[in-house]
Symmetry: C2
Subunit: 230 residues, 2 copies
DNA sequence: CGCGAGCTTGACGTTGTTCAACTAGAGTGG
DNA sequence: CCACTCTAGTTGAACAACGTCAAGCTCGCG
């Protein structure tokens, strides 16, 4: 499950991670020498909600999901992209993971000790700024999800989920989902059966073209309308 | 609506605001001399979602609500207590309010220019830490609300709303709500009528004692059970 | 005294869940 | 190579939870 061969350097990832931009090359080297590269297989759990958050993670390859567990039911907050850091909400806040993270595909993960990040926050105020910016960006993203799941009916929620995948994860109108119908259900807060029924409708109405996991957005306009008023 | 007579000093509020603890007295004076005290009447809007967030606010007296507007329907994120700062999610993040804030009662508000806070974050890393801690604390609180509104049925959601008021706002098992049934509906993501029906049930089942706006928690155990499994 | 806002109640309709059954494909072992 | 099993996906029918609508109530205020 875990290997410690380093294939990448932090310089390779810097363009993905906005909050690393303001680090000096010495600071980046500090991170580089205090991280491990791990690989996980599809289905494995990377962080367990409630466990000690001694590391901040970055998924450099593959896809994963951030989800909250509650009474055997999960709520997926987001599908993680390579622009995301995992574990920021735990900083200065109990040092416990407030969500779980699971691998949707085989993935490569960089694990950086939280204390390193904390020291950089203390010593480099521009980095602290960027961390705050990052946390706040996520906060607002979660606000949108909050609205989606509490104020919209199923069609709107599915539209939001598809748009999230298209805009934040795959950066394309056409993609192959690494997630199951059940995951889609946990992303939209509804039952698997209902997800299937609504995907079928969207397919019939030629808003999406769906072939199992392959999704193509045929009518972005209608999809946005569904998201807005659904 | 707004008066600029200063009745308080920041020293009076410091015990309420955890993230001010690490400020030196000079820094506190800096805030003190760069803030205005305002009063708002019940029903007035303090921040409008989407407007420029040039100030961070602190409600020193009275009650207010933070809510997200979407298509003429509101979702109340929380009822603000004197321990809360308003506007943190806007820092380093568009400088736009991502939610609206409304006065539930007549209130007194301190308004501090965001640039002052930003400078302090840059210059005092302990303060930056505390700001991050504060933002993250809110994030986790919102996670709980997220679970409440998406995974629980009405009884559980009402239980959560009552517990929020009791634990985070009034710090008592018995309180007089400053909010209407409609507000309760917007706090729980359900219809006003349903709120009323469920409050009545909880009253009949002797879990709560409800006399119009006066609420007394009779059985905290059952209320927690509802919150957990409702 | 009358008006309006907030509150309450009952009847009814809709949305979405649950349950049960069935299908398809992938992996396993004889 | 063929059962067997397991998981994911799909479908239909019954049901429950909740929202909507319409009406009436209460109380504070002008």
């Amino acid at each position: 499950m875990a290997r410690t061969i380093k294939k990448l350097s932090c310089q390779d990832c810097i363009y993905k991670l906005h909050c690393f931009h303001k680090l000096t090359s010495e600071e980046l080297d500090l991170i580089d020498s205090n991280r491990v590269e791990l690989t996980y297989r599809k289905g494995e759990i990377i962080c367990k909600q409630g466990s000690f958050a001694s590391n901040i993670l970055h998924v450099s390859e593959g896809f994963s999901k951030i989800y909250i567990e509650h009474n055997d039911k999960n709520l997926i907050l987001k599908v993680v992209s390579s622009k995301d850091l995992i574990g920021l909400p735990s900083i200065f806040n109990n040092n416990v993971f407030h969500y779980s993270v699971g691998a949707l595909t085989d993935i490569s993960v960089c694990s950086i000790n939280t204390s390193i990040i904390v020291n950089l926050i203390r010593e480099n105020s521009s980095f602290a700024e960027n961390i705050i910016a990052e946390i706040n960006k996520n906060m607002v993203q979660y606000f949108d999800r909050f609205i989606s799941l509490t104020q919209k009916q199923s069609h709107g929620r599915i539209a939001d989920a598809i748009l999230h995948l298209s805009n934040d994860v795959f950066f394309s109108q056409e993609f192959e989902m690494p997630i199951t119908r059940k995951d889609l259900a946990e992303l939209t807060g509804m039952s698997t059966e209902n997800v299937i029924r609504i995907l079928k409708e969207l397919n019939n109405d030629r808003i999406l073209s769906i072939d199992n996991k392959k999704i193509k957005i045929l009518s972005p306009e209608l999809l946005h309308k569904l998201s807005e008023f659904g």
